[in-house]
């Protein structure tokens, strides 16, 4: 079981054609392989080298996506701030 590469653990849901990604150590199922890899690194110990590497990759991709999200959130905050400032200025 431990020498199985993560993707052979993936099943195909016959009904929807979507692939499920199982955790080999517990009963959790994930919609995406990188979610499963993150889960492995966060919740389980004694991972195989392949799992360790997959976790590191998923973690890095997650950080990048988070950085982009932060910029978007900041942009949204600034826009909201200015809209409110203008609304207040107009209503005074």
């Amino acid at each position: 079981m431990t020498d199985a590469s993560p993707d052979t653990a993936a099943d195909t849901d016959a009904g929807t054609g979507e692939r499920d990604h199982d955790c080999p150590y517990c009963d959790r199922v994930f919609a995406r392989a990188d979610y499963r890899d993150l889960h492995l690194g966060l919740e389980h110990e004694n991972l195989t080298d392949a799992e360790q590497a997959a976790f590191a990759d998923a973690r890095e991709a997650e950080e990048e996506a988070l950085t982009i999200f932060r910029y978007k959130a900041l942009g949204l905050l600034v826009v909201a701030y200015f809209l409110f400032l203008m609304a207040y200025a107009a209503s005074l």
Partner: protein
């Protein structure tokens, strides 16, 4: 400083700066929007829509800001923080608490029947509404839940025989739903009956409630208080918000961190939480001028006034509950997950308790402080018919209630953030899972800010 802590420090600094900027805006809205503090005569007046959207935006912005706290270790450290407090002679305090509870029940019944009939002179009215439903409930979420010790029915029941049956096996309906219906019933009685003005009636209701509670305890033992009794459930849920917990000795924790745990077992318990939130909202809603106007219009058309209140209570509950289910389920789609919708519904619902606590304190703190001197006076001389002293609160106090409503929502956003991190391996998933929840929270905020900022008028057709 490690990289992680520096990132956290930066995030916290950004959070504070933005919160200050936003609160500068809200501060102006609070000062000039709405009618609290009779600001109509001032030169600056913010239209209601802008005031409400500012309140909603504060909740939305705090959600965005919470997404900047991305250090898992930091988030879980805050939520898992516990500090044991030395508690000398807890047994002594518990015995004293039980005695106080019994004495309170005896006072409410005896003074209710025999004491003065003026509501502000009668200790029974003041103990129930000022001391218990306002004061003790506030202490449950601000400090910790003392009700299991004070609960006079639990104390009485512990001395009486019991059959110790399982409520779920005996009752033909779902126990948490029964409890939810009971809670809505209590809200209905509280609003439509003159219980706050008629001490004799209040004492009768308390006696009736005692009969129900003691029969329940006879059948189910302690499980009556743990599963069926709506009042014990309200206090237990409010206690989950509090910074003190008694599960394992007395422990200090960050307020709201008790809401992160999986504390609700079923859909019915989620319904109970929503009923608590809605009941507190409804309590405020029926005392607004627009409600009075529309209630009169509806009754004029021919709808009986006795039907109006319970129907509105149930319809509003269904709207709040349906809105919550819809938003959380719809929001779960953004998270791209294989987890069960039912799990999100259960796990995110406790965050609503922080909001309910915020509404409750907004609604009752002023009431409690106003009545506190009268309560003390009435307890000191329960059968005297002397003059009543109440506290006159300064005009700015009304503005505080808006701050409490917002504070409850901000705590709820933070709780939901922690729950999301616990449920999902990816932090972006966690953020996305909260889109729907944040939307319904913004709606709840705007509703309650609108209610709190209306002037008080006595509800028509009641009492």
């Amino acid at each position: 400083m490690t990289d992680a802590t520096r990132r956290v420090a930066r995030a916290v600094a950004a959070l504070l700066a933005a919160a200050l900027a936003v609160s500068a805006l809200v501060g102006r809205a609070l000062a000039h929007g709405g009618s609290i503090g009779q600001s109509a005569g001032r030169s600056l007046d913010v239209p209601t829509w802008l005031f409400l959207s500012t309140g909603g935006a504060v909740v939305g912005a705090s959600f965005l800001l919470s997404t900047f706290a991305t250090d898992r270790a930091f988030v879980s450290r805050i939520h898992a923080y516990r500090r044991a407090l030395a508690a000398p002679r807890t047994d002594l305090f518990a015995t004293a608490g039980r005695a106080i509870g019994l004495l309170g029940l005896a006072t409410v019944v005896a003074v209710g029947y025999l004491g003065p009939s003026g509501p502000l002179q009668n200790a029974s009215i003041l103990v129930v509404w000022g001391g218990w439903w306002a004061g003790l409930a506030m202490s449950a979420y601000l400090f910790g839940n003392a009700w299991p010790v004070l609960d006079p029915w639990r104390t009485l029941a512990s001395a009486l025989p019991t059959r110790d049956r399982d409520p779920a096996a005996v009752l033909p309906v779902s126990v948490p739903w029964l409890s939810t219906v009971g809670l809505l019933g209590l809200f209905w009685i509280e609003i439509v009956s003159p219980l706050a003005d008629a001490p004799r009636l209040l004492a009768t209701v308390v006696v009736a409630y005692s009969v129900v509670a003691l029969s329940g305890a006879f059948l189910f033992g302690d499980r009556y208080f743990e599963e069926v009794d709506p009042i014990a459930r309200v206090f237990r849920l409010y206690g989950a918000v509090a910074p003190l917990t008694y599960d394992d000795g007395i422990q200090l924790r960050v307020p709201g961190s008790g809401l992160e745990a999986d504390i609700l077992d079923s859909r019915g318990e989620v319904a109970f939480v929503v009923a608590l939130l809605w009941g507190t909202t409804y309590d405020g809603l029926v005392a607004t001028p627009p409600w009075a106007t529309s209630a009169r219009a509806v009754v004029k058309v021919g709808v009986p006034a006795t039907l109006l209140y319970p129907v509105a209570l149930v319809v509003g509950f269904l709207a709040f509950y349906g809105g919550y289910l819809l938003c959380v389920r719809y929001g779960a789609r953004f998270a791209d997950t294989r987890r069960d919708d039912a799990e999100f519904v259960r796990r995110f619902a406790p965050s609503l308790l922080a909001i309910a606590a915020g509404y409750h304190v907004a609604h009752y703190l002023g009431y409690f402080l106003t009545l506190a001197p009268a309560l003390v006076g009435a307890l000191a001389a329960p059968f005297a018919r002397g003059s009543v002293s109440t506290l006159v609160l300064p005009g700015w106090f009304g503005g505080l209630s808006l701050a409490f409503v917002l504070a409850g929502h901000l705590l709820a956003v933070w709780v939901a953030h922690g729950v999301g991190y616990e449920l999902f391996p990816s932090r972006l998933q966690a953020v996305r899972s909260q889109y729907g929840l944040t939307a319904i929270m913004i709606l709840y905020t705007m509703t309650s800010l609108w209610i709190v900022s209306r002037p008080y008028v006595a509800p028509p057709f009641v009492g």
